[in-house]
Each structure stands twice: as C-alpha cells, then as structure tokens.
C-alpha cells in the first residue's frame, strides 16, 4: 500500500473530534470558572479595600490557588479531559501547567527539578506575553510619535 493511499485510509478511519460537544463543554466550564472568578472578585471588593480595577490581582492569585489544590489532588486533569480549552484558557490552566510541572519534578530536587522545570509548559505563555507587550508598547510609541494615534 502506498503512503498516499494509507493516509487516505487513516483519514477515513480516524474519528474527527466532536467539535460541537467540545465547544459546548469548553463554553460552560470556562464560563463557570470565570463566574467563580467574578464571585471571588466581589468578595475582595466587599470585604477588603479593593476596587473593581484593583480586585483583578487578588482574584487571579486566588483562583490559581484553587487550581493548585485541584492539581495536587489529581482533579484538574480530569476537568481538563472533560473541558479542554474550558479549563486550559482561564489562568487556572496556567496555574495547572506550572503546578503540575513543579509536582512532577520534585523527585529531581527543589533546585534542579522544581526550579529548572517550573515553566516547562507555561514558559511559552510568559515569553509571548512579555515579548508581545514590549512590541505593542514600542509600536504604539512610534505611532504616537508620528501622530497617528494618541495615548
């Protein structure tokens, strides 16, 4: 059997991902996580001195903490299998990537294992976040200087 012929067969046999089901699951789980985030942020606004503008930071830190607990108990991967992007896209997914790598590499010690592998999965997000922030700021600065836009 030729390669092309096999690839054709493979295409026919391999099931397509259930797009609609996956999208629905991602929507509801992702939305639910954000609604919990909203509740946490309200908690900080009402009981502490945070405004809507400043409550974002403690909110994110808190949901990352929840994510650590769920990751450590092995529950986050089950949520992940069910929800896909619904649990990967919220910052809890970022937390899960960092915490799971940290737990995984504990056996190689705190410095070489945890320290060296903490951003094994999440590093690309930090990289592209910081680099794109730099370029966006640079481009906007140039555009402001030549008078195309204002701050």
């Amino acid at each position: 059997m030729e390669k092309e012929q096999y690839q054709q067969l493979e295409q026919n046999v391999t099931p397509k991902p259930p797009y609609l089901k996956n999208v629905a699951k991602a929507f509801f789980v992702g939305g639910f996580i954000c609604a919990i985030g909203q509740a946490v942020s309200l908690f900080y606004i009402i009981f502490f001195n945070f405004t809507e503008a400043t409550a974002g930071n403690p909110t994110v830190a808190t949901v990352v903490f929840f994510s650590m607990i769920l990751t450590g108990l092995g529950l986050y991967k089950r949520i992940g299998q069910f929800a896909g992007a619904g649990s990967a896209v919220p910052v809890t997914g970022f937390g899960n990537a960092v915490v799971s790598a940290a737990i995984e590499h504990r056996s190689e010690g705190l410095v070489l294992g945890v320290g060296g592998n903490l951003f094994k999965l999440a590093g690309s997000v930090v990289l592209f976040g910081v680099v794109s922030a730099f370029f966006v700021a640079l481009i906007k600065y140039i555009l402001v200087t030549i008078g195309v836009v204002s701050w």
């Binding site: 390669k3 391999t14 996956n22 992940g80 990967a88 799971s100 999965l121």
Partner: protein
C-alpha cells in the same frame, strides 16, 4: 528475511507484574502480581519501574525453580531515557545483560535475541522482556501527570507493567518459537504523537505480510495473530490494509490487538493501551498460559513500536515505527 529456529527454543515461563490501574485490565487474572502502589513503595517513579522489572524476572525464574545464577543472559528494555530502569534492574540481578530499544516492540525483539543465543548454544536460560511505567513514560514523552490537557480519542494509555519470559532449550510441553521476523523501520508520514496506532499499523502490516510470505503461510494457518499495542484505531487500520491486500473478512477475526483489548471497553482509556509493558504483559501471561492450556496451537506475536522521542516530534519529524514478530507453536 525470516529467521528459522532449528532447535525451537521454548518459552518456559513468564513473569508479569503490573500496577494498580491494571487491575481493570481484562488480562489482570493472568498476571502474577498486581501491585497497589504505582511506585512499588519507592521514592520515585523510575525506582518503582526498576523494582517492577526485578519482580517480573523473579516470578519468571521462580516458576521454573531457577536462580539468577543459572541465567546466562538478560535481554530487555523500557522507554525511559537511556533505559535506566532496565539497566539498574540488571545491576541488581547481576546477569550478563544487553539493553535493547525497539520502543514497544522490545518485548519481541528481546525474545528473538534470546532465542538466537539459545540456538547458538550460548545460553541455557535467558530472560527476555520489556516494561513501562505510566508516570515515568508520560512525564517524559508528553506532559506532567497532573497536567490537564485534553487527550483526543486517538490517544492511548501507557500501561504500568513489566513482562519477562524465561527462554530455554526446546521442551515438548512448552510453547516453542519456530520462526521470527525482524521488522524494518517503516514511516508512512504520520506525525501525531497522540495517534500512535496510525503510525504503527503500517509497520505491523509489513512485518506480518513478509512473515507470511516467506513462511508460505496464510492468516488461517494461525489460531491467533496478536499485535502489541496498536489500539482500537490502529487495529482497524491494520485490518483495513490487509483487506486492501485481498485478505478475506472472516480471516480478520484471527487478528487481535493486546492494546485494544487491554482495558476492555472503558472510554476513559480512549483508543486503548500502549507502552512496552502492554505487549510484554499480555504475551508473557495470557498467551503463554492459553497455549499451555491448549487453546492455541500456532500463534504469531507481533510487537509494534513507535520510534519517536519528545525531541524528534518537537522538531517536526514524522514517526518511524517498527514491528517484530515471533511464531510460537505448541504440540
């Protein structure tokens, strides 16, 4: 070229040790021991992996009442970087040893080498097998265990199991190896590490075809052709390729796959089981026991292996695969 063993070395015993999740395997009743701690009460996954290999070897030896001093060679491998679990187990077993890497096809490639050594007269007894430990393999090839990535339906679950066979000179009352085919490394351009079955099926197809052709056999000459870990989709693909080549539908029932059957119909495991320990565990427990009980007279075991590394697929390479086959008969 097919290898014909004139002296027909025998599979005298098999030792299979598996992890806690493998309790759910449809084959678990045939295993010698199912441990309820995935790390065998060791500190790391890799140490547990090593311990599992040692125990599997000990079970195989105990069944024939031989000591490790009686074993001439140990042939085996696993999937961890540089195969440290097997290398370290060999250190503790103190048996002359060659580590073999054919990925998940090691369970059969090791048996072939052991048979050649037996045929040559260099070995009275040798141990051959392979193993995999879920946590140790997943963290290396894919993601940390607790990372919540969504696995597609094509994914397979790496089993925690070690299977080792004790191979010795021919004895009538034991299943014996008549012939073997060492497979080529086959690449049909598949590049999805979450769809190994599709990558491995062509390798299994080529090895089976070449073995049957050179032995002048048809599928129906066998009671069972058992592939290693193609999974449900890989098995479907293999059957599809055979049908294209003129194999009749009724013959296809003789084809089974250890990985596809390993965890039954549990959807949590997606397309089924994989890993070097998958084929080794099934071949050296279920198959040997069934043959000794007389259920099968002639069996072709085809272990398949995907020869990728995390590095190679990140660099965008496709996945070459191999398949090795042994023909086992029972009087």
């Amino acid at each position: 070229m097919v290898i014909l063993f004139q002296t027909k070395p025998s599979l005298l015993a098999g030792g299979v040790v598996a992890g806690p999740l493998e309790n759910r395997s449809v084959f678990s009743q045939y295993f010698d021991s199912v441990y309820d701690d995935e790390r065998w009460q060791m500190k790391t996954n890799e140490q547990g992996h090593r311990k599992m290999i040692e125990e599997a070897c000990e079970y195989a030896m105990k069944k024939m009442g031989v000591q490790k001093g009686d074993i001439d060679y140990l042939m085996g491998g696993d999937l961890v970087n540089q195969m440290t679990p097997t290398n370290f187990a060999a250190r503790d077993l103190e048996i002359p040893f060659i580590g073999l890497f054919s990925a998940c096809a090691t369970s059969v490639s090791s048996v072939i080498i052991a048979c050649l050594l037996t045929e040559l007269g260099a070995a009275n007894f040798s141990l051959a097998g392979a193993s995999s430990q879920h946590n140790a393999i997943e963290r290396q090839f894919r993601y940390p265990i607790n990372y919540g990535a969504q696995k597609p339906q094509t994914a397979q679950w790496t089993v925690t199991a070690a299977g080792y066979a004790l191979i010795g000179k021919h004895r009538e009352e034991y299943p014996s190896i008549e012939a073997a085919t060492i497979g080529k490394s086959v690449d049909y351009g598949m590049d999805d590490p979450f769809h190994m079955g599709a990558a491995m099926a062509p390798a299994a197809f080529q090895t089976i075809q070449s073995h049957l052709q050179q032995r002048n056999q048809k599928i129906y000459h066998y009671d069972l052709i058992l592939t290693g870990d193609l999974g449900q989709l890989g098995l479907k693909l293999l059957k599809g390729m055979l049908v294209e080549n003129g194999v009749k539908n009724e013959e296809l029932t003789l084809l089974r796959d250890a990985g596809a059957e390993f965890y039954g119909q549990d959807e949590a495991f997606q397309s089924g089981a994989s890993g070097a320990g998958c084929s080794a565990a099934v071949f050296f427990s279920y198959v040997i026991q069934q043959m000794r009980a007389g259920s099968y007279k002639r069996v072709l075991l085809v272990a398949t292996g995907a020869l990728l590394s995390p590095l190679s697929y990140q660099q965008g390479e496709t996945i070459p695969c191999t398949a090795h086959a042994i023909e086992i008969t029972m009087k």
